[in-house]
Assembly symmetry: C2
Homo-oligomer: 244 residues x 2
């Protein structure tokens, strides 16, 4: 999954095999303890973040809004969307525990952010965040690392959108989700709708649904219910995905 800005956790969350901490404190208006501590400078979200809870489909900010905050997702799933004037939508990425957004340097947000499920986020005013980067040189380097990782994910998504077939796209998507799931993820939760998946993969809901059916029929996945998939043939899926 093309998480927008990968985790700022001290643990290198973009490393393959990363296991997010179990979701706790749903809705709690309190600072979240991070796994692992880092010697010199503290995680800014640990010390100075506000917590914000949002309901399903609620909008956090809209494309074009003044970019006031930098966010990090604590729990739940968030989608980042860009719209064409006539309403066509592209979902840039889905964010989960630990992912960040709003880090672009533009004055305004360049995409909208909406809650896919009810979610909890932390946020820091951008002005304060930028001041922090002046004080803590290591912070800029850590963000550079995260942003570079995001860029790599974006490039993979370009290959997917530019050159892969519908089944390949869906297979790739499932494998990406699995890679972000606890234990490597034989079972994968799909918190988002088929329409969201379609707008992420450059397809329509119908085509996504048909691709799921094909993968099911060929024995690579089982649909436990509409939003929980079991990957029964990981190698077959990887072959169907033509690599990640």
């Amino acid at each position: 999954m093309a998480a927008h800005l990968a985790a700022l956790d001290s643990t290198a969350s973009h490393r393959p095999g990363y296991v997010p901490a179990p979701i706790a404190m749903r809705g709690a208006a309190k600072v979240i303890a991070l796994t692992g501590t880092r010697a010199p400078e503290a995680d800014p979200f640990e010390t100075m973040a506000e917590t914000q809870a949002v309901g399903r489909d609620q909008m956090l900010f809209s494309e074009g809004d003044a970019a006031r905050h930098v966010y990090r997702v604590v729990s739940g799933t968030v989608r980042l969307c860009k719209l064409l004037p006539d309403g066509r939508r592209q979902i840039i990425g889905f964010l989960q525990h630990g992912d960040m957004m709003g880090l672009s340097l533009a004055q305004n947000y360049l995409y909208s952010a909406e809650a896919v499920t009810s979610a909890v986020l932390q946020r820091i005013p951008r002005s304060r965040f930028e001041a922090l980067m002046d004080e803590q040189p290591a912070l800029a380097r850590r963000l550079l690392s995260l942003t570079a990782t995001e860029l790599v994910a974006a490039q993979d998504q370009m290959v997917l959108l530019g050159r892969k077939t519908a089944v390949e796209r869906v297979a790739t998507f499932l494998l990406r989700l699995a890679a972000r799931t606890i234990g490597g993820g034989r079972r994968v939760q799909l918190p988002m709708s088929r329409a969201d998946i379609a707008d992420h993969l450059g397809l329509t809901t119908e085509t996504v649904s048909r691709a799921f059916t094909k993968l099911k029929t060929s024995g690579m996945i089982r649909l436990l219910d509409g939003h929980l998939v079991e990957l029964t043939d990981r190698e077959g899926l990887a072959a169907a995905a033509e690599c990640a």
Copy 2:
């Protein structure tokens, strides 16, 4: 154009209206003077870069190679490619004067780099580059800024690949090229082949060619020759591009 990592010039080259310096010293094995000087720390490419000249279609490095250098394009055009196992190709971006590549933090390059035209580049060993970032905190912040700009371009490209029609893609591509051209660019050079454009826009050469013909027929462009286009109706093009 989705330049991979925008300029490290002291002049903020990702600002709209940026005018690259005229190409000079083609093939010269000497350090290139930069426009503008910056007070505290020097541009690393100014002081410690090797210069490398490559011929048309020559490969600079290949996907998977050990990432030894960070590059900056001095003159010419470079394409960054990703390949699927069966040979399908996606061009991540075209690089021109001032653009950087090789900054990802991975141990290996994640795409190939090839000269579209004969080109001149500067390069710095990654190890030295990273040491520099430790010494000069401002460098990391500048790179963060450049990488974030790249990420924005990548997101625009996702919208293009996921949701735009063939004509919209080509119109968008022409406007992006024009935005990077001297004087805003009523006339735009296309150094790359139709096949390159196709692999950048997620199309085939034939479809790209037909899209050019449609834009020509509807009076928005004139093909002065296969590789030089005049944008005769900028607003019409922008409408045909559906923004971006």
